[in-house]
């Protein structure tokens, strides 16, 4: 090494930073490091979607991995690639991370072929979360369309677990047809919970369907809400949350109390690659959870 210039070792910079957690915001060492996780269970939800239950392999990682409802992880399938997936389980269960994944591309297709016991990588959690603390002592509307139930299931389980903190709770879920309904094996359980209004609607019923038929906005016709004491979380395709949020706006719910989760194809999760930019906002840093007012002000968001 030439004497007049001295080498700089980036890895030596932060050897002893405490506390050890998954907040990577200033931790260079964890920039691209994934944490190994094992697929412990695979639950088939529909033709296209499966629920993957994962467990951190390293005991220490298991204790350190914490997240808030609405955040996402980068799921690494070595040899295939990395995809952003929202976490769809309760943050209170430390041992399991549940990811509901649709077969939609190269990586997710390979993942759908993976077997129990396969080892994948996880980076994260990344992004903003639903403000569950702020919502307490208020009525809560949880509305999902299609695959939107995957991200919604995290705040939903949070609300169920902390039911006493919330006033009226309405859960509305809509899908194209009954074959596309996710988590159908759990509806019975959710129905039985005291004082939760769960409604499921489909656009195109089959002969066995006995529930309501139509678009999800129809479910809003039958409820009376106190707009000053109501928060809403709306997850689903942009066209759906646009209609739902506008409807809620007409019902008097302030735009800053409606929260949506936007989907983009992140490549880094850390505000670098620009692939998830909406106008000039990084969905991975400033989102994926935005209030509806912010979404209205984002160019090309919907």
């Amino acid at each position: 090494m030439n004497a007049i210039l001295h080498a700089y070792e980036v890895t030596k910079e932060e050897d002893m930073v405490e506390p050890l957690d998954y907040n990577r915001r200033s931790r260079m060492k964890n920039f691209d490091k994934c944490f190994k996780a094992e697929i412990t269970n695979i639950i088939r939800l529909t033709e296209m979607e499966k629920l993957f239950q994962l467990r951190m392999i390293n005991e220490d990682d298991k204790n350190r991995f914490t997240f808030l409802p609405g955040q996402f992880v980068m799921l690494e399938l070595p040899g295939y690639g990395e995809v952003p997936i929202s976490i769809s389980c309760s943050p209170s269960i430390k041992s399991i991370i549940e990811l509901c994944i649709r077969k939609a591309g190269k990586v997710t297709e390979a993942l759908h072929k993976a077997k129990r016991g396969a080892v994948v990588g996880i980076r994260g959690p990344f992004g903003t979360h639903f403000p569950m603390e702020k919502m307490k002592k208020n009525n809560v509307l949880l509305i999902a369309g299609g695959l939107g139930l995957a991200p919604l299931r995290a705040p939903m389980t949070y609300v169920i677990e902390n039911r006493a903190d919330f006033k009226d709770v309405h859960i509305f879920y809509g899908a194209k047809d009954p074959t596309q309904l996710l988590f159908d094996y759990q509806y019975e359980q959710w129905h039985r919970i005291d004082d939760i209004n769960l409604q499921i609607i489909v656009e195109k019923p089959d002969e066995l369907w006995t529930g309501p038929v139509g678009l999800i906005t129809k479910l809003l016709d039958d409820i009376a809400i106190d707009p000053d004491k109501t928060y809403a979380i709306v997850c689903g395709p942009p066209v759906m949350f646009k209609f739902v949020c506008n409807r809620l706006k007409d019902m008097g719910v302030p735009m800053q109390r409606m929260f949506v989760s936007l989907e983009r194809r992140m490549h880094c999760g850390m505000g670098k690659c620009c692939r998830c930019n909406i106008g000039s906002t990084y969905t991975c840093l400033d989102g994926p959870v935005f209030d509806y007012w912010s979404v209205m002000n984002l160019k090309e968001a919907i």
Binding site: M1, N2, I4, L5, H6, A7, Y8, E9, V10, T11, R24, R25, S26, M28, K29, F31, D32, K33, C34, E76, P78, G79, Y80, G81, E82, V83, R102, A104, G105, T108, V119, G121, E263, R264, R265, H267, C268, M270, G271, K272, C273, C274, R275, N277, I278, G279, S280, T281, L285, K299, E300
Partner: protein
């Protein structure tokens, strides 16, 4: 800041004697253009005579030495149904010489994204910290640059040494401790009052020489209001969506990540590759939905990031006004024309 002067010949000695064991990169002439102008690129050199510090500007920026076109982020080694992740950072020493104010201001902007912002990148930091940067002021504004309009015509930091030709000597701004150590190898002298005058006179002449200008103060607002302007369609129709602008841009940093598995299936490399927001699939998501399917929406997005988004995040435009994108564009689109067009339209 410490100011020194050095005899021009001594700079050659610095490279040929003191830095001969380090990889040195500078502006080398690689071709002559159709209109007889020399074409320069930042390339490694062995002897100081191979480079020309009087170059107007290089066609590509020096970005490639900090954000290479392709970079391996991780390697996954497969073994018995399991894998491990191997991460390496480049830490070889390198000296980069001949960077103009636009190039150095571009690095300062990249620092804000990759070295200081949330999630600092160790890949970038390692390259940046291990690169010794010697810049040089332009003698006169280049024919097409508009760096003065975006505040990138002068540099205050982001370099180790920064030179200005003041006749038989170089006036040197010393930007770092290691800069001073290196400079001391060639016995610099303290500046005399005449040298200070001559430096200021040269700088004044340079700053007065700008002809190519745009106004950017209100541009973030104009862009917000003119989101639906027909100007975007007009320029978008010309755009070939080739991504050349982003490749030569000293500050365009967006990228894509993909994985490449080895032929023997024993390992897989996770590779980061620079991308361009003008490419068709930039905003494509799962299920093949494209958020920016039209050319004009992608061209527009690039301007929004340069002149609105970056301003929102860091209080300054991302553009340094070098017009490399304008030179590289196959369809003759350049930022001065697009922005003027947008501002004129009333």
């Amino acid at each position: 800041m410490i100011f020194k002067t050095i005899v021009k010949e001594d700079l050659k000695k610095l490279f040929n004697v003191h830095l001969k064991d380090v990889e040195c990169v500078g502006p080398k002439q690689v071709a002559t253009s159709n209109d007889g102008k020399a074409v320069y690129q930042f390339l490694p050199f062995e002897s100081f005579d191979e480079i020309n510090l009087n170059h107007e500007k290089t066609e590509y920026s020096a970005k490639t030495y900090f954000l290479p076109f392709r970079e391996t982020l991780s390697t996954f080694n497969f073994k018995n149904g399991d894998w491990d992740q191997e991460i390496k950072y480049r830490k070889q020493q390198r000296v980069l010489v001949g960077l103009h104010p636009c190039d150095i201001n571009a690095l300062v902007k990249l620092d804000k994204v990759f070295a200081k912002d949330l999630f600092p990148s160790p890949y970038y930091r390692s390259r940046r910290e291990n690169t010794f940067v010697i810049g040089i002021d332009c003698d006169k504004p280049c024919t097409d640059g508009f760096c003065a309009s975006v505040g990138a015509d002068v540099v205050t930091h982001g370099f180790d040494l920064f030179l200005r030709d003041i006749g038989d000597k170089y006036f040197v701004k010393v930007g770092s401790d290691r800069g001073l150590n290196v400079l001391n190898k060639i016995s610099p002298t303290d500046i005399s009052p005449e040298e200070r005058k001559s430096y200021r006179k040269k700088t004044k002449e340079f700053l007065a020489g700008f002809k190519n200008t745009i106004r950017v103060e209100n541009l973030p607002n104009t862009l917000d209001i003119e989101f639906e302007s027909p100007v975007w369609k007009k320029w978008g129709d010309k755009c070939l969506s080739c991504g050349s602008c982003a490749m030569v841009c000293p500050t365009c940093y967006c990228y894509g990540v993909s994985e490449q598995i080895s032929m023997d299936f024993k390992k897989s490399e996770k590779v980061k590759q620079l991308y361009s927001c003008n490419l068709l699939d930039f905003a494509m998501v799962a299920g093949a939905h494209n958020f920016r399917p039209a050319r004009e929406t992608r061209l527009k997005y690039r301007y929004y990031h340069q002149h609105r988004g970056f301003v929102e995040s860091f209080g300054e435009p991302k553009c340094v006004g070098c017009n490399r994108c304008g030179r590289a564009c196959l369809a003759n689109i350049n930022p001065v024309d697009v922005i003027s067009d947008l501002q004129m339209e009333l």
